[in-house]
């Protein structure tokens, strides 16, 4: 079996060595995960959400495990733009992987301010617009559920990204995700990222309180995979394909087979989140597994994307 099979993809103009990303918020700013994985082997790396000002995040408990999943309510804890530029960019600059900065904020201006400051940084391939975080009181998901809002924030940020590509990250908790996807694409999104987590709650029946201090959290992990795969396929068929917009698909991916499901459903690349916590080097295994599959099935990534049959 030749292991140097080509699984590179063109993602909205960015050439990726392979279609495997780590998802925002599940791999830190690169240095932390680097103890376990050679980040440069990844197709793409997405930072934890960055906001203009540092955010402490929510009080603990911030996570709780559920059946085949977990809730998190980190609350966009992050070091803020300045410290990110000072401390983390230099680390990211040493990486050869395509780096995407995930951006969040409470107002459109905040999103724009972060993107403007970073738009000229050479190491950054693009931005992922987090308009789907369920764990903050202001901003986050509130931008992502109404097509008008999605359109407004996307076009505002699009003006700021310059040459970089703009990925809009969608929430799955809407009546028709294609409507939202369409709004993002028409407003200038170069790619779509889906899905973010599902708002959910775990109750401690001894105390009769939610386990999370934030009460609700976002459900991620294998539990959501079949919903996410369906939504990726839906958006691929209804929006992405005709607009030639690539999808970064994910939600519950643990194995190469999972990743291939998303690619067949219509994703040009996949994001691995929760699984990094359990096997920090799972992305490497997923990349190898995709190669093996392509060799075994005598196919290639291009042919695979969106190839779901009747």
């Amino acid at each position: 079996m030749k292991d140097n099979v080509d699984i590179s993809v063109d993602f909205a103009g960015v050439k990726l060595a392979n279609p495997v990303f780590t998802a925002s918020g599940t791999s830190g700013y690169a240095d932390e995960l680097a103890d376990f994985v050679d980040i440069n082997l990844l197709g793409g790396f997405i930072t934890k959400s960055i906001t203009l000002k540092p955010r402490k995040g929510n009080a603990p408990p911030r996570i709780v495990e559920t059946d085949a999943g977990m809730l998190n309510a980190i609350g966009l804890a992050n070091i803020g733009l300045d410290k990110f530029i000072k401390e983390k960019l230099p680390i990211l600059e040493r990486m050869t992987t395509a780096v995407f900065v995930n951006v969040a904020g409470e107002t459109i201006d905040e999103y724009v301010a972060v993107v403007e400051r970073l738009a000229t940084e050479r190491v950054i391939a693009g931005f992922e617009l987090n308009i789907s975080c369920p764990n903050v009181a202001k901003g986050g998901i509130s931008f992502g559920t109404e097509p008008g809002q999605v359109s407004e924030i996307t076009s505002a940020v699009k003006k700021a990204v310059g040459e970089k590509i703009l990925i809009v990250k969608l929430t799955p908790t809407v009546t028709d995700i294609s409507v939202i996807a369409n709004a993002a694409v028409e407003a200038g999104a170069d790619a779509l990222s889906m899905v973010n987590t599902f708002t959910a709650m775990v109750i401690d029946i001894e105390t009769r309180k939610p386990v999370l201090a934030n009460r609700t959290g976002g459900l991620s992990g294998p539990a959501i995979k079949p919903i996410a795969a369906y939504l990726v396929n839906k958006v691929y068929n209804e929006v992405a394909k005709k607009n030639r917009i690539p999808i970064l698909g994910g939600g519950g991916i643990r194995t190469a087979s999972d990743a291939i499901e998303f690619i067949i459903a219509g994703a040009s690349a996949v994001a691995v989140g929760t699984a990094n916590f359990i096997e920090p080097d799972c992305t490497t295994k997923i990349i190898e597994g995709i190669k093996k599959y392509c060799v075994r099935k005598e196919t290639n990534i291009k042919e695979l994307i969106g190839s779901l049959g009747k």
Binding site: E32, D35, F36, A59, T66, A68, N276, I278, P280
Partner: protein, 314 residues
């Protein structure tokens, strides 16, 4: 397996033993060989590891305590953090012991591990207890399962700091929930060495139970307070190491603060990753010289903290 900075990585260990030592307490012995032996051989007291117990069998129906039956139905996904109660290097192998309490789906599964099983483990993780430089007396204050890392610390202290006097305090609800393998006997109790595990290191110990069924009747922190009242030692020459439920740690921290004794505590948080990438394990910490607080990460900045750093949640 990769060679990594700080030697932490995903390793494979082989179960050597898994012994029930109390109502719901077990002691698991893990053996590391090859590349894994060295990093774990160097593990310091207070550090921990993340165990993958997903593929491990559940105990059969009858073997599940009634109050855990519902929890047992949950399929687990995440690894679970455990500290070490003993680390022994034997030639090119390292044996690591874990003292654990059966409280939910992962620890239930843990009880079915048996000699020869292999298990995936990430570690050693986090920062251990700082060594007691310039101190004369080290007080180890354990609540329940907190005894684990303090036993490890006891071993290291007595080996590396023979001039320091170590006294252990162990608290539990009742005699049967004291997480010690060797039963108390009256003679050693009278001599001041009731806990055989600590006595093995030549360490005297005090036992406290809420119901008085063993040792002091009351909280271990009250027992500590009483002891401090009568010990006649200078605060600056002492250091407290503590591990246990957060309520107890808060009390220990308060005592240390009042008496101005250096104090290190090991905190627990729900952890999704254990390696600093998820931010789930936030511990609220004071910022020196300000009223502000920051969240530090239990897995990376801890689990051991100076007690005066921590903002305890009521």
């Amino acid at each position: 397996m990769m060679v990594c900075s700080e030697n932490k990585d995903v390793f494979s260990a082989v179960v050597r033993s898994n012994k029930k030592i109390g109502q719901r307490f077990y002691r698991l012995g893990l053996e590391f060989s090859g590349d894994c032996a060295e990093p774990f051989g160097k593990a310091r007291p207070g550090q921990f590891a993340e165990l993958d117990l997903c593929g491990t069998a559940l105990p059969r129906g009858e073997a599940i305590p009634e109050d855990l039956c519902d929890m047992a139905e949950r399929n687990i996904l995440l690894r679970r953090p455990f500290s070490f109660c003993d680390v022994t290097v034997k030639g090119d192998k390292t044996v690591v012991d874990i003292l654990y309490d059966v409280v939910g789906p992962a620890t239930l599964r843990m009880t079915t591990l048996s000699a020869g099983d292999s298990i995936s483990i990430i570690g050693p993780l986090g920062n251990g207890f700082a060594m007691p430089s310039g101190k004369e007396t080290a007080l180890l204050v354990a609540g329940g399962m907190g005894a684990g890392p303090l036993l490890h610390l006891a071993k290291v202290l007595t080996a590396d700091y023979p001039n320091i006097k170590v006294v252990a305090f162990a608290g539990a609800k009742t005699a049967t929930t004291l997480p010690f393998e060797k039963r108390l006997d009256e003679v050693s109790e009278v001599l001041g060495f009731p806990l055989a595990e600590f006595a093995g290191y030549g360490i005297e110990s005090l036992v406290a139970t809420d119901d008085g069924s063993a040792g002091y009747k009351g909280f271990v922190t009250d027992c500590l307070l009483e002891w401090l009242g009568r010990c006649g030692l200078a605060a600056k020459d002492m250091i407290i190491y503590s591990c246990g439920p957060e309520k107890m740690l808060a009390k220990v921290a308060e005592i240390a603060q009042e008496k101005n004794i250096d104090c290190q505590i090991s905190m627990e948080r729900m952890m999704a990753c254990g390696i600093g990438i998820c931010q789930s394990c936030a511990v609220e910490c004071k910022v020196a010289g300000s009223n502000e607080t920051v969240y530090k990460l239990c897995c990376k900045d801890g689990p051991v903290f100076n007690s005066n750093e921590i903002v305890f949640s009521n």
